[in-house]
Symmetry: C2
Subunit: 409 residues, 2 copies
């Protein structure tokens, strides 16, 4: 398996496009719609937000994934989330799918939708339709087209997020590639904000869903920007079979290889999302080792990455390790504070901050240097068992407050 350039168009038979439809942004030349298309029907799997409040596209996608074996296109807009928009929002979403289907000569149920942006506004459907008309002729299987699509789905993100890998399954080259948007309202609890991953792998719908559901547990579920689980979380995985590997319809070596490839793509996208959290200046990576169970390791790691006090200390490059210990302590997991150890790592340096129930004699200067790196790694050794987990988040800066104090204007 190796990482390659590209995103949603990396796998055979997938086309994409991005365009500016003028849906919401002041800058009407800003790209805000994307289309992903498979030349042949693609098996589809997905995971979605657990928020009780669900966007119109989320509700429709959930229904289609339950009833359809394959789909062929996904149309996405940014700027407006189409959430809390009641029946009218559902009808507009249906219209967005229907108009895309018409332009692509597909039945409406072969088109999924996704929206991201401000909650509570209705979609300006005329502009959306003009956007769709722009997108269809732009569809291409090039890297550039995948990049355009990735750029079109971002909101407060500062850069596009793409990743692709190639692997060999029984002599055939299989490619998995994807894109994601993140930034704010990120605390996945079934999926992530919006991520579309495509593959030419020949695999059954059942195994595809199994791979998607298992995968998110260690990727999208392990990131948080602000502990707010979005109403629009959508992770779609499309497989069109064009790699012509022998059909995967059960567990085994081939399925395992596919899952490993998928994991690399989603983990990379997840980390990119954490690193580009709203206002973030640093990626915060928290690794919990020697926990009693895998679940406990995850809960502990997530408790630390979501603590506002830890996040502000990391922003200030302040080795206030007491806050890390405090966040471990309120995670709801029993442990002995007298035996655990805490380390920080950054820029290739490592420093033990805490052992035997108290601070080590570490140098504050050295700690501040490590915490000034743009990727800060915290390791907590729980001394309890054999399990470990890693979670990714970011620091909490003035810019998070600035961005969110007046997001809608």
């Amino acid at each position: 398996m190796k990482q390659i350039d590209g995103g949603v168009t990396a796998a055979s038979g997938f086309l994409a496009a991005g365009a500016a439809a003028g849906i919401k942004y002041h800058d009407k030349t800003r790209k805000d719609m994307a289309l992903v298309y498979s030349k042949v029907p693609a098996k589809v799997a997905g995971t979605f937000t657990t928020n009780v409040v669900k966007a119109a596209p989320v509700k429709r996608d959930i229904h289609i994934i339950k009833t359809e074996e394959t789909i062929q296109a996904v149309v996405i807009n940014s700027g407006i989330a189409n959430t809390c928009t009641s029946k009218e929002g559902e009808l507009l979403n249906e219209e967005m799918a229907g108009y895309t289907a018409k332009q692509l000569n597909l039945p409406i149920e072969k088109v999924l939708t996704a929206s991201t942006g401000v909650i509570g506004c209705q979609l300006p459907i005329d502009r959306v339709k003009l956007g769709i008309e722009k997108l269809v002729p732009l569809l291409e299987d090039t890297k550039e087209a995948g990049k355009m699509a990735a750029e079109s789905i971002i909101t407060t993100d500062t850069y596009k997020k793409e990743c692709a890998v190639e692997l060999e399954i029984e002599g055939k080259r299989v490619v998995i590639g994807g894109m994601a948007k993140g930034s704010g309202m990120i605390h996945p609890n079934m999926a992530t904000m919006i991520s579309i991953v495509t593959t030419d792998c020949n695999i059954s719908k059942e195994m595809l869903q199994k791979a998607a559901s298992a995968d998110i547990e260690d990727s999208f579920h392990m990131i948080s920007v602000d502990r707010d689980t979005s109403t629009n979380d959508t992770f779609l995985l499309l497989a069109n079979g064009m790699a012509e590997n022998s059909y995967i319809d059960e567990e085994g070596t081939a399925f395992k290889a596919f899952c490993e490839g998928l994991r690399l793509v989603t983990k990379t996208l997840a980390k990119l999302m954490a690193q580009d959290g709203e206002g973030a200046t640093k990626l915060l990576e928290v690794e919990v080792v020697h926990a009693g169970t895998k679940e406990e390791a995850k809960v502990l790691a997530k408790s630390v990455i979501t603590s506002n006090l830890v996040k502000t200390a990391v922003f200030g490059s302040d080795a206030n390790w007491g806050r890390i210990l405090c966040a471990l302590g309120y995670a709801g997991i029993e442990f002995n504070p007298e035996t655990i150890e805490l380390y920080i790592q950054g820029d290739g340096k490592s420093l033990k901050l805490y052992e035997n129930g108290m601070a080590t004699g570490y140098s504050e200067k050295e700690a501040t240097e490590i915490l000034s790196a743009n990727k800060v790694h915290v390791m907590a050794d729980m001394k309890m068992g054999k399990e470990k987990a890693t979670a990714w988040g970011c620091d909490l800066s003035y810019d998070y407050v600035k961005i969110n104090g007046d997001y809608r204007s």
Copy 2:
């Protein structure tokens, strides 16, 4: 029952003092130690943090409250939390209690301790002892002395927090008064940061603990500044019986009256803590009405006050109600987003923002005016049942990041 001036010295027989011991702050004249003393032994009740990581004074207080019927003094320092300080920290805490006991001619087990401030530093015990020597001769039963004590326990708080009430129990005047410190690392999960409440009520230890444990559920447990449950949460309730009301050792009218008085004191202190959260410019009050159960109402209200996205929107006076709905939605409680209603209230005005699954046609200008008030009230009508709850928090501002990005320097 009526609210009166004063704090921990309002009830008969309670003395207090505050002094500068130079424990931690650059400004060595800043008061950082307080002493509360009862002329006669006082029944004692308490609730403490549920954080696995507990401060040395918390561990000792929990033990004493289990084994002693009465205590007579509480000595408190700010600046250093005496948490994550291992055996050495426990010995220093014991020394702080012992030295106070010696100066007051009390057995050591009649003295409780509390600490608040930076985690991980050892107490400078010589300075603490000099502080105790200063405090003892300053002990007075005046309002001024209570105020000095309240000022001495604050850290990043911007003002002292006191409240007192008087009530009549079977013809006798009973007074309950208290002080608290809050500001950061506030997400009580068994108690609050540090609050000492004193009363001259004549009541059994058992009923006192019952009152304390029930009380916090609707007061200290319903506030949050940053979702970080502190390692030092301590709520102590002292009753010295000097009001000479007939002994309360069972439920009934007298106990109920006492609980109501206590509730007014603790709720007032809790709201003061929320309003003075680190960097806060506004008090955020979230009321959930017509919930199915009381517990559900509480969980929903707390989900909204702890959302960073809601808090930053309130800071920016931005009526981004979708974030409120989103926070209700991920609270883990089932409800119908199509039927609930959302209101905001401030400066005597009220505005309905959401009903029938979508935005009302409210005026953004009016909404911004309401949200610019220094106390913002959000009401969510769940249309499910008869229960309600209120939670208190604050906005998330640049100053929260500033204060916590470099708290230790």
